[in-house]
Amino acid sequence: MFKKTPVAAGLAAFASIIIAGGCAVADAGKTGNVDYTAMTSQELAEYLIFEANGFNVDQEVQEGGTAKQRLVQDEMHKACSVIGGGKPDQATLDAVRTAAAASITYPEGGIQLGDWQKGRELAWSGFGYRIGHNPDDHGNRPVGGNCYNCHQLATDRTGGTVGPSLTGYGKTRGTSEAILKYAYDMIYNPHAYFPCTNMPRFGSSGFLTQDAIADIMAYMFDPESPVNE
């Protein structure tokens, strides 16, 4: 599993040395005695994020703790953030892939398909873990899979194209143990197959529960599901 290492820690120490030597940073944007131009762009970005009132890092978040942890990068985040776009080198990709594969855990009793009708609504729902001015209250609604944001599934609703179309997923692939495991892994941590993919790690991150994953998989595989019409 990836360890959450605050990259800002070293920088914070660096900044506090400067501040200790002069007056403190007055408010957002006021640079005080902190010389932005003496930092690398990476250092300045971390400073703006964690130290210069750039983001509302004290807001409470659904998973417990504060919004600060939403901006702290783990090893995958760091490895896969390439300034200007593109992918990191092959050795880095391999390390990301290996760590992702190791992060996947399976439900007791093996991978099961749940209720495709519940899965249909979960696949459509973009609800969950949003914060800021309008935080999602998980007590009111289940956390959704956000699948349609990026994927076309059943064609009765419009899906996005950031990810590949999944229309007819089960119909064209069957329901062998191997393909069920592949789909489960892809939802749980897709970096195991596509290191530095744009797709979230819905299992590793704790975004979706095992039940939600089973329902969404049923929506993908059940012959009765409109995905497979």
Binding site: G29, L44, I49, C80, G85, N149, V162, P200
Partner: protein, 278 residues
């Protein structure tokens, strides 16, 4: 093809005659549509049709009155406000933000500079509704911003990079743009580094295509789905909400860095001000 060629002709003539700034926002957008094949620019035929009657156009008039009216505890207008091109110079000022200001010692986005002038010149404080109310058509800040922005319609984005602080903020913004984090592992580039991709039905603008990106960063815009004019800060805030990241502070350093990078990516392309968006 033929229609496109016909439409492109007067645009080309207008550009040659430096009449670009006098064009309506929909004409600026049409010029971009004619210049590049972009499903982002053309995605809403309805918005293209509605632009000549955009509710944002009313805010220009309201904002103009507010700008030139003696207001606030000091009972003076904003006519002496320096938006970077000298006191009272508004023409083309908006597309040269964010910029470094000697009097504050920091890089400011347009909205921060406007608030600064309202405080220092007119004497408003954070508690006054003129400054406190930041959202919606009725907000003074929305009206004033829409007015000043409209005086940069058709002007090419040209945020200055002469001061080292301007370059530093732009470069930090670039890092932030590509910096993955959060519950969903997203960065800005997750959605804005490819052409023609959609989130559900909405075509996403590509930050690597300036002709597309200029529309993406052309705020204030009448946001049809919100029935209100919104600013660049609203757009950034909404993206961060969707990304599940921490919210950028209004007028804060993170917001300024991101907008510095944004506007730089649209450099050289004409701004659509005010724009209309879904």
């Amino acid at each position: 093809m033929f229609r496109k060629a016909l439409l492109a002709l007067p645009v080309a003539l207008a550009l040659g005659a430096t009449a670009n700034a006098q064009k309506a926002p929909e004409d600026v957008l049409q010029g971009l549509i004619d210049s590049i094949d972009s499903s982002y620019l053309t995605q809403s035929e309805m918005n293209l049709m509605m632009m000549p009657d955009s509710p944002a156009l009313w805010l220009i008039d309201d904002g103009k009155d507010l700008f030139h009216e003696a207001r606030g505890p000091n009972n003076v207008s904003l006519e002496t406000c320096d938006f970077g091109k000298g006191p009272g110079v508004l023409e083309g000022a908006f597309v040269e933000f964010p910029r470094f200001f000697e009097d504050t010692g920091r890089v400011m986005d347009f909205e921060s500079r406007l608030v600064h002038c309202m405080k220092t010149i007119q004497g408003f404080t954070d508690d006054d509704p003129a400054i406190r109310t930041k959202h919606g058509n009725a907000a003074d800040i929305t009206k004033l911003q829409t007015y000043v922005a409209s005086l940069s319609n058709g002007h090419a984005w040209n945020p200055p990079m002469d001061h080292p602080m301007e370059q530093a903020m732009r470069d930090a913004g670039e890092v932030i743009f590509y910096r993955r984090a959060g519950t969903m592992d997203f960065s800005c580039s997750t959605c804005h580094a490819a052409t023609g991709k959609r989130i559900r039905a909405s075509v996403l603008p590509n930050s690597n295509v300036p002709e597309e990106w200029t529309k993406a960063v052309s705020w204030p815009a009448f946001r049809v789905g919100h029935d209100n004019v919104r600013s660049a800060q609203h757009r950034v805030g909404e993206c961060y909400w969707q990304m599940r990241h921490a919210e950028p502070v209004w007028g804060g350093t993170g917001m300024t860095a991101i907008i510095s990078y944004w506007n730089d990516r649209a450099r050289g392309q004409p701004a659509i001000l005010p724009d209309m968006k879904r």
